[in-house]
């Protein structure tokens, strides 16, 4: 089979930093190639070189050659690569230029001069294929993460592009959407598309990838054809698990005196009731995970528990909104909106009006543990996504509140960073309880003592230890399962 993409990179520098070196790869038509490695290993840079964003948008010095369909990438005219390459970026919402679904899908065809009738036909066909015809007139701001991703993929099908690049596609998806996404990848493969995915999560790709390329320190360290990568090897390379079914809980349920009580809480979004009469208790050192499909009300629950919504809730740390705001701390999904000060260290120092020497020592310790010490005088908004997430979480730990709620704290994090976060949470939970809203089962099994499963019409709180299979089934089948099976606490 012919090579559709070839890269021979002797070196690539951003300024004085050497990002990639001695990297040679080729991709055959119809292959699904996964690029993986720890954060900062160079996979995003490689993706940008392969899709032509370097040098068209990002600067850098490349010593080497990249060929798309046998032609040097720099020999293509401006914008011409759109005929052969489609891109789905990490956060599909930010990549949309148009505010209506069908307009966004049609954009590439408009730019490349497809006539209106052909364009309308192609847009309809692409929407049909991805099952999004019913949302064609919807605003992109009203879509779920999974729908947004389907819209972005539909956009790549308009000009019959041969190659599609995905940058961490699962980071904004829930468990069920990830499952649908892997089905879409298979459909694209059947259509003869060549797919290149930069990704940390591997379990949903294990059956479908042709080759997995492991990148370390800016070069290819290993290439695994499908079937040759074991879960043990993943552990050795500090990669995310290949098989989520093999995960087992690392935490025993803590039987401790109740520290936080939530009694018959009703959670609303506008006039809609999302969760009815939710009652649970948390022990002082307990870490509780909250799982359930997107839109079930997990983030809305977090906002209500921390006092951002619901004027009155029967909770032990404050029934009034103001009391809950004072006594709890929620790290929201978009941590950028919780970072306000001019340096990383100020961000942490301002958690308290006055810091004692032990507080300052704690800040130093946290900065070192989270690998942010060398960034302490940097502007926090200039940190990478993972670094900002870590900063927001240690800010919550220093807040001195009675309850901490973390909403998707590890989305888009590699195994190593996830483990650092997990260890920090475990340590902090010795003082106060933590609630973690997550789709990340590796984090859940590693960190949480208990889990609150939110279904369509019911909920259940159970121990994670001993209930691994039940939790997996719940994630697979979602809410209905709660009615089908009788869970044992």
């Amino acid at each position: 089979m012919e090579n559709i993409l070839e890269a021979e990179i002797k070196s690539f520098h951003y300024g004085e930093d050497l990002i990639l070196k001695n990297l040679k790869m080729s991709v055959k038509k119809g292959e699904i190639v996964v690029l993986t490695g720890l954060s900062g290993c160079g996979k995003t840079t490689l993706l940008r070189l392969l899709n032509g964003l370097i040098p068209y948008f990002y600067d850098g010095d490349l010593d080497g050659e990249i060929k798309i369909l046998g032609k040097d990438i720099t020999a293509y005219k401006k914008g011409e690569l759109a005929k052969y390459i489609g891109n789905v970026f990490q956060n599909p919402k930010d990549q949309f230029f148009c505010d209506v679904v069908e307009d966004e899908i049609a954009l590439v065809g408009e730019n490349l001069g497809l006539d209106r009738d052909t364009l309308k036909e192609k847009v309809e066909k692409a929407m049909d294929l991805l099952g999004i015809s019913h949302i064609s007139k919807k605003s992109i701001f009203e879509l779920s993460g999974g729908e947004r991703q389907k819209v972005a993929i539909a956009g790549t099908l308009i000009y019959d592009t041969d190659i599609i690049f995905f940058d961490e596609p699962s980071s904004s998806l829930d468990y069920d959407s990830i499952k649908h996404f892997s089905e879409i990848l298979l459909r694209l493969k059947a259509m003869g598309k060549t797919i290149i995915i930069a990704e940390h999560r591997l379990y949903y790709l294990k059956e479908i990838f042709s080759r997995l390329i492991y990148i370390k320190d800016g070069t290819i360290c290993d290439i695994f054809p499908n079937g040759s990568l074991s879960n043990d090897k993943c552990k050795e390379l500090e990669l995310r698990t290949l098989n989520e079914r093999e995960l087992i809980s690392e935490k025993e349920l803590i039987v401790a005196k109740s520290y936080i009580k939530v009694n018959k809480a009703c959670i609303h979004q506008g006039k809609r009731t999302l969760i009815e009469e939710l009652t649970f208790e948390l022990g002082k050192s307990e870490i509780m995970g909250v799982i359930g499909s997107n839109g079930i009300g997990k983030s809305t629950l977090a906002k209500a528990l921390c006092g951002l919504s619901e004027k009155y809730l029967d909770v032990s740390y404050g029934q009034k909104q103001r009391e809950r705001l004072k006594n709890s701390y929620c790290v929201l999904q978009d941590v950028d909106a919780q970072i306000f000060l001019d340096t990383v260290e100020n961000e942490l120092i301002f958690c308290k009006d006055k810091n004692s020497e032990s507080d300052l020592e704690k800040i130093r310790e946290y900065l070192k543990d989270t690998d942010l010490w060398h960034k302490k005088t940097n502007h926090p908004q200039k940190l990478s996504g993972g670094q900002k997430q870590r900063l927001a979480i240690i800010t919550s730990f220093l807040s001195g509140r009675k309850l901490i709620i973390l909403d998707e704290p590890t989305s888009g994090l590699d195994y190593k960073s996830m483990k650092i976060m997990s260890d920090l949470m475990t340590e902090k939970a010795k003082e106060i309880p933590i609630i973690i809203i997550t789709h990340d089962l590796e984090l859940l099994f590693k960190t949480c003592h208990s889990v609150l499963m939110l279904g369509d019409k019911d909920y259940k709180k159970i121990s994670v230890k001993g209930n691994e299979a039940l939790i997996m089934d719940f994630m697979d089948k979602k809410g209905n399962l709660l009615k089908e099976k009788n869970y044992v606490k």
Binding site: V100, R116, K137, K303, L325, D336, F340, T395
Partner: protein, 237 residues
């Protein structure tokens, strides 16, 4: 096309087909001169006209705008006797400017109701395909984004325990502005990558998904605006 509310889509879809977004851009240019040099009668005519136009797109938005204008007018009326105070004087002047140029803000609101695709199609139709057309379209694409981000920042401030205060305007501005700007830079980075990879810079012929025509309504509105401009200028000279 308008997609904020499915129930209203049919009506609004027809309106966006009937009124070219460039007509609204043209009216903004004409009215900016009329409001600067015109007299009260031209101002009132402009205001009533743009409110009528807004109500064709969204009665709810028009009602809210009328209420806001009445509040501004009421505040101006209340502040007028206390103009000796510097702070009150500056607030009074600011409110007066808002009221004076309200028709332009309302037209901006009408323009923001068009989808990005409609706007870019209209600009392409008149041969404005480069930076200006894309710049204006991106500006309107960012309006809903900014209001979403402001809400998130507000939530972030509440959680962190930071309070917005009119007595600390610089601090308050900084609290909102810094994260908002970084977020906008972040989004514009991804957005630029995305539109480059979608061939926006492609040098060949470009087409439009939506057909954007100049209809009799457009011509009437522009001619009406020009007559009003003529009347304003005639009064001066």
């Amino acid at each position: 096309m308008f997609c904020k509310n499915d129930k209203k889509n049919i009506n609004q879809h027809q309106l966006s087909d009937k009124i070219n977004p460039l007509t609204i851009v043209g009216l903004i240019l004409l009215f900016s001169v009329i409001l600067t040099v015109g007299e009260q009668s031209q101002y009132l005519f402009s205001l009533i006209f743009v409110l009528g136009l807004l109500s064709l797109f969204s009665i709810k938005k028009a009602f809210r705008t009328i209420c806001s204008l009445l509040i501004v007018w009421g505040l101006i009326y209340l502040l007028k006797p206390h103009l000796g105070n510097v702070l009150i004087g500056s607030i009074y002047t600011m409110l007066l400017i808002v009221l004076k140029f309200a028709p332009l803000f309302i037209l901006g609101r009408v323009l923001s109701s068009y989808s990005s695709s409609h706007l870019i199609a209209a600009f392409r139709k008149i041969g404005v395909d480069g930076g200006i057309g894309i710049g204006i379209t991106v500006f309107f694409r960012f309006i809903p984004e900014i209001s979403i981000r402001m809400k998130e920042i507000n939530n972030g401030m509440k959680i962190r325990g930071f309070k917005a205060s009119i007595f600390k305007p610089i601090r308050t501005f900084e609290l909102y502005f810094v994260p908002l700007m970084y977020k906008c830079i972040d989004i514009s980075d991804t957005l630029t990558c995305s539109i480059i990879s979608k061939g926006i810079e492609y040098d060949g012929k470009k087409t439009s998904f939506h057909e954007v025509k100049i209809t009799f309504i457009d011509i009437s509105m522009i001619v009406g605006g020009m007559i009003l401009l003529g009347a304003s200028l005639w009064k001066i000279f």
